[in-house]
């Protein structure tokens, strides 16, 4: 779907998405979220606000959590993009199911991707995963269903299982 961000000549972008090498011809400012959802058919990343406030569109770019509604396509040139449809989320997904961390499900993909990024950051930095740490990491992901308790419990349990 063409939007105001797409009114420029297309450029070629090489990017790996969920492990698959892609060469895309897209306007440089096309939102990464639109590239994923519309050009690549990966609708798991959601648009809750389109202005970087809700976190539902969170994806991993070279392992770092990125709001794909704010990231122009040209910024992912040469990177590895992982969406909720990609690999590596299985334990986090199972934990969200076990703890009731998904209700309406619209924030869930972003929550799961962000939880993955937090667990990886804990491991990389050698920090103990704590409830406060999980709350800080997920503070940019809004949920209106759960009151967050089940989400924090799910994130913490996944982090501790992976350390065990």
């Amino acid at each position: 779907m063409k939007s105001i961000f797409d009114e420029a000549d297309e450029i070629e972008i090489r990017v790996r998405v969920n492990g698959v090498a892609r060469t895309l011809s897209v306007p440089p400012l096309r939102r990464l979220l639109d590239v994923l959802r519309e050009d690549l058919g990966l609708a798991g990343s959601k648009e809750g606000c389109g202005e970087g406030e809700c976190g539902a569109c969170t994806v991993l770019v070279d392992g770092a959590a990125v709001l794909s509604c704010l990231a122009p396509a040209c910024q992912v040139e040469g990177t590895e993009v992982v969406t909720v449809e990609g690999a590596g989320f299985e334990r986090v997904q199972a934990s969200f199911l076990a703890h009731g961390g998904a209700q309406c499900g619209i924030c869930t993909p972003g929550m799961i991707v962000m939880t993955r990024a937090w667990i990886d950051a804990c491991r990389r930095d050698g920090t103990e995963p704590t409830e406060d740490g999980a709350r800080l990491a997920l503070a940019g992901n809004l949920c209106r269903c759960t009151g967050y308790g089940a989400i924090i419990a799910a994130a913490l349990a996944a982090a501790r299982e992976e350390r065990a």
Binding site: M1, K2, S3, I4, D6, E7, R37, G41, L42, A43, G44, S45, K46, E47, G48, C49, G50, E51, E53, C54, A56, T83, V84, E85, F89, Q93, F96, L97, G100, A102, Q103, C104, G105, I106, C107, T108, P109, I112, A134, R135, L136, L138, A139, G140, N141, L142, C143, R144, C145, T146, G147, Y148, G149, A150, I151, I152
Partner: protein, 744 residues
């Protein structure tokens, strides 16, 4: 979560009731595979947009369309293109689908545009200007002369009580204000519509709570038979009431565009448009005057409720109904007079939001109880306990409470978990440091199901069909919007049929297939629709008398021998439920859920910023059929209430919501949420499925008064306005206490 009370309730013979099932909708949601309306890929679909009023009131004279834009590239629809009635069908026919003359609010839909892509749509929207003659608007409900609904509830002779108070009695008065609140479902509103098929059938798929409401709206807008309008609910990313009535607007608009463009049209709001024009909670003003004996016995209550309904009626009459019916709180009033009205202004119409009028009035009565407790020098917990309704009491409408009255049980439970009954509330404390902590409580009830004769008129239906392979298919119009309908219905059906959960299939809510079970609102899905489902399954089970083998084998033999494998059951009110809509006397609700909350806050004395640290709640749900879902409802609803109490600001200027971006429309994050401590109390309701009552709305009622009670404990400040923002608290700190109290 404390479960000691619940464990006692698990019947050893029950396999799925009281034990958490895996969510049937869970795996797809965590993998990002669940299909919401924006995820649908429809070849050839265009995108739709709305031309809106930029004034709060006026008369539409036409449109100026820039001739430089090539209008052949898009489809332009006005009120003149509506094939049926220009009426947004709901309760009263006052809201047009598209304005054709009078404009009553900012953002009112005037025309629609469909375009092949977003860039063309935005160019077209920028190239059209409505010509409007402005009219002076009114935004003050106190000055409004147009009343959507007024209600009067009377018990005993209030004036006589106030006129002859016993020695030592006190009179407490207060005016309590509550601002609007945004539902903020994370998935914005959206529908996709297809043009009429050869036989005239219109199909709409969307994010919605009530498919049969949308069908009713399409029927009127297009002048077609109900069978010719097909509405399918897609996965829905939250509702909270916000997708009760408004999806009918989006659906009619999308369908008008699809008809004109002769192709599918996607009409999906971005967050800005959603925040700017969709209905929110009714702002409220509740004046209370109450008399208590010197010993703390409630004697009489005089209540005056005013809600701002906004520009059109929408659901305002029923919101006011629930508001007035909860204005007396869960208390025993020998005499009570409750008058209420909801009036028109030129604000964007207000509408359904979890709690539906009750949070506004519960807030008022709970604040009044705190005020009375201080005046009487009685602990606020004790004062509530002393006056709590119990089985055998009658409410303000004269409803005799017989079944499932968990008032004392939730008060006992909240005392055990929070120890608030032993907390020296508002006792003078040495004020040290920049931050002060406080505890506060609320006690509340919430009617489950539709008000008064609503359920009797709705006649919600559920069908259960045996499939050729022997599985049972549940066909219901109730929607899964995150609260867990699919899990709950699977559990009830499997339990009542005596089969495995894999032998149960749920039909997607599609008005072409499922009967009208009534809307997914009013805390009725479990108690009312779940009860009908249980009956249907028991009937089907009793028919399949074949023996030997698995359920599916027996069911197949039953079908092969000519058995009727389809059962439809219609809701019937329990015997003896009586309601008089003219006098507002009788059984306002089949039953009430009961709850008590305690909040702990930490307040920065310099900035008056409030952190809610912990939140205890004890809730009587009758029987928690799926405990994890119930806790999810309680914690999620409580956080919405806590957010409304101090953080979620909604203001208007010239009839526009000022918080129309997610950057300014604030809701709680992980860091703002308190730690929850939920106690499930179970006092079974004999007419609910396996003893269950409703729980969806109840947790919205108590959070705000509990938080403001805790702020009072911390700052010795009686705040009466929700949300209690730092600005409002600072102003209160500077002013003298305003609420008058006098002794008789």
């Amino acid at each position: 979560m404390q479960v000691s009370a619940r464990e006692a309730m698990v019947h050893p013979m029950e396999r799925f009731i009281g034990r958490d099932l895996a969510r049937p909708d869970g795996p797809a949601k965590v993998r990002g595979e669940a299909v919401y309306v924006a995820d649908l890929r429809v070849p050839g679909a265009w995108v739709g947009g709305t031309v809106r009023s930029d004034v709060a009131r006026g008369v539409l004279r036409g449109f100026e369309r820039d001739p430089a834009f090539d209008w052949k590239r898009v489809t332009f629809v006005t009120a003149a293109d509506i094939p049926g009635e220009n009426v947004q069908a709901l309760i009263v026919d006052d809201q047009p689908v598209l304005a054709s003359g009078a404009i009553e609010h900012w953002g009112e839909p005037l025309a629609l545009i469909a375009a092949p892509d977003v860039a063309t749509l935005e160019a077209a929207l920028a190239a059209v200007r409505p010509r409007i003659d402005p009219v002076a608007p009114n935004f003050d409900p106190e000055l409004s002369t147009r009343v959507f609904k007024s209600i009067r509830i009377a018990k005993g002779d209030v004036d006589a009580v106030f006129g002859a108070l016993p020695a030592g009695a006190i009179v407490v008065e207060g005016t309590y204000r509550t601002d609007s609140q945004e539902q903020l479902y994370i998935e914005p509103q959206g529908c996709i519509a297809w043009p009429p098929e050869a036989d005239g059938t219109i199909t709409v798929k969307g994010s919605l709570q009530c498919p049969h409401y949308v069908r009713k709206a399409l029927v009127r807008c297009f002048g077609i038979a109900p069978e010719s309008a097909r509405v399918v609910q897609m996965e829905t990313g939250g509702g909270f009431g916000g997708k009760e009535e408004y999806p009918s607007v989006v659906a009619c608009h999308a369908a008008l565009l699809a008809r004109a463009a002769q192709r599918p049209v996607k009409l999906i709001y971005d967050r800005h448009e959603d925040l700017a024009v969709t209905p929110k909670r009714h702002p409220g003003r509740v004046k209370l005057r109450a008399a208590f004996s010197g010993e703390g016995t409630a004697l009489a209550l005089d209540a005056d409720v005013l809600f701002d309904g906004g520009a059109y009626t929408t659901l305002s009459p029923v919101v006011l109904s629930r508001g007035t019916l909860h204005a007396s709180g869960p208390y025993r009033w020998p005499s009570a007079r409750i008058v209420g009205r909801v009036v028109a202004t030129n604000h964007v119409p207000y509408g359904a939001f979890r709690g539906f009028g009750a949070p506004q009035t519960c807030f008022a009565i709970e604040r009044l109880f705190d005020r009375a407790a201080r005046e009487l020098a009685i602990h606020p917990y004790a004062l509530r306990r002393q006056n709590a309704l119990v089985a055998g009491d009658t409410t303000a409408t004269g409803q005799l409470l017989e079944h499932s009255v968990g008032s004392m049980q939730v008060l006992d439970a909240i005392a055990r978990s929070s120890a608030f009954d032993r907390h020296a509330w508002c006792a003078p404390r040495a004020g040290t440091g920049a931050k002060r902590r406080g505890l506060g409580m609320s006690f509340f009830f919430h009617g489950a199901g539709f008000t008064g004769s609503g359920e009797e008129m709705l006649k919600g239906r559920v069908r259960v069909d045996l499939l050729p392979d022997g599985r049972a298919e549940v066909l219901a119009g109730s929607t899964e919007i995150g609260q867990g309908t699919d899990t709950l219905f699977t559990a009830i059906a499997a339990e009542a049929l005596g089969v495995d959960t894999l032998d149960v299939v749920l039909a997607r809510p599609d008005t072409a297939r499922v009967p009208d079970s009534g809307p997914t609102v009013a805390s009725r899905t479990c108690m009312v629709v779940g009860g009908v489902l249980e009956q249907a399954c028991r009937t089907l089970r009793s028919r399949v008398v074949e023996s030997g083998g698995t359920w599916r084998e027996r069911a197949r033999r039953f079908l092969a021998s000519g058995g009727d494998g389809s059962v439809t059951v219609t809701y019937a009110s329990p015997a003896g439920v009586r309601w008089n809509d003219a006098t507002y006397q009788g059984d306002a609700y089949p039953v009430f859920g009961w709850a008590a909350d305690v909040a702990e806050v930490e307040v920065d004395v310099d900035t008056c910023e409030v952190d809610v640290l912990r939140f205890w709640t004890a809730v009587d749900v009758g029987h928690a059929l799926q405990p994890r879902l119930v806790v999810g409802q309680i914690e999620g609803g409580s956080l919405q209430a806590v957010g409304w109490a101090q953080r979620e600001v909604i203001t208007t200027r010239d009839g526009r919501f000022e918080q129309d971006r997610l950057a300014t429309c604030i809701v709680p994050t992980t860091l703002d949420a308190p730690r929850f401590d939920v106690t499930l109390v179970e006092v079974p309701y004999p007419h609910g499925p396996y003893g269950a009552k409703g729980v969806g709305e109840l947790p919205m009622d108590g959070g705000a008064p509990a938080v403001l009670s805790a702020i009072e404990d911390a700052l010795d400040l009686h705040a009466t306005h929700v949300p209690a923002t730092p600005e409002r608290l600072l102003a209160l700190l500077e002013a003298a206490s305003a609420t008058p109290v006098r002794r008789a």
